[in-house]
Symmetry: D2
Subunit: 134 residues, 4 copies
């Protein structure tokens, strides 16, 4: 299901343009993924077989600047379950509106901690991810 | 032409995984673009016609973690000159090697500060960008 | 009165030592001051006479590392009302405990935006600050 | 001896006030301490006896805002060698001038990694620190 994380823009999130800096959005996205993961035992399943969830790509569109004191919300969900990779769609809206500030796809692979190679998603993980993607 | 910016990874760039955090790379990329822009009058030309260079997309692949004390280099160049958008290719290597840490495309549009709409690249800007892309 | 701001430590707050990085605490303090100021018209009073609240000193003791996923709380209050300066005491505790993680004093002066010199706290501001310090 | 670290202020260092944000200075100080430590075997000596250099206090005065594109320099030296603690004086100037932007004292103790208690500076470390303080 979709997870919503609320953030208030503060002065130190801004840069010379008085907008939230482009790098700071990636902290907002990471914060929101961690909050999302608290609702599902995904990391536990991955760690249980001595693997790690490793970020391999972020593709982010900056749509509208976010300004000081604005309330924003990050909507996160599983958007693609590949053979060896998982994508999360993370859209940032002005809170309570459909005004899109940024939309991103964050893609991860599952890395075997021993062989340091990416491995396939297990059936158990896939079942959970499909539930998360509804 | 290609611009190279050197950065030394420090303890505060890392995160819980002891790798440079994914968001921090976007600061490395921004730092490197500003250093690159110091060699060309691109911003001056854009500002002269009351426009701004606005980041619209970053697509970054994380290839290999960067660790504490590693020396890295960001290689930046113009990679695509569209009608209304410009892309910069920014590849981060372990200094002096071809070991790729991350590769990114940062895409900008030119925004008219008065109408707040994106405008076409001028011929003057295009000539400069073509020189930068060699 | 004392204001409490809750923060959850995330992976990107940490550094090479797996503790919250020393600089990140200053963002936690700033975030907490902004949240505190939302409850009182202090900034409004200062801005109304064309002044600004300017940070002049932070003195922070690091008492105990904060680790990934820990819940912490920042307790903020006015601690000293000088002639021309105001200090806020900001203590960071492990949430719901008296385990002190860091304690800080952040001192501000009031700067006249026209003359760029620090000015005395007005009687109106002092009355509010005394209420905030209770 | 005094160590000088050069930094160029970039757009992402700023905040809503168009000045370098107060937290960012602590990254500048940390960056400069690491660069300083590369010239002396202090960390090696401390690690060799299974201890760590642990930050216990930062006291920073913000004297003058730093603006976008300014070149600044951080001058770092050992300023006090106590029984169980070491202080570093770190002053940030506009590059090549005596215009002070911020001055800070960063104080560390030496922590035994096994007992997790602070220990006295060894004679060997003291000799080195005295050399660093000249």
């Amino acid at each position: 299901m979709m997870h919503i994380n609320h953030i208030k823009v503060r002065g130190f999130h801004l840069d010379m343009y008085q907008h939230v800096n482009n790098a700071r959005y990636l902290e907002f996205l990471e914060e929101s993924r961690w909050a999302y993961f608290e609702h599902y035992p995904l990391m536990e399943k991955i760690h249980a077989r001595n693997c790690a969830l490793v970020l391999v790509n972020i593709d982010i569109n900056y749509r509208r600047p976010a300004f000081n004191n604005e309330l924003i919300e990050v909507r996160t969900k599983v958007s693609r379950i590949g053979n060896k990779s998982i994508s999360f769609e993370q859209n940032i809206y002005l809170e309570g509106t459909e005004t899109l500030i940024a939309d991103a796809i964050a893609t991860f692979c599952i890395l075997d901690q021993e062989t340091h190679t990416s491995v396939e998603i297990s059936q158990d993980e896939r079942t959970l991810l499909e539930e998360m993607a509804v």
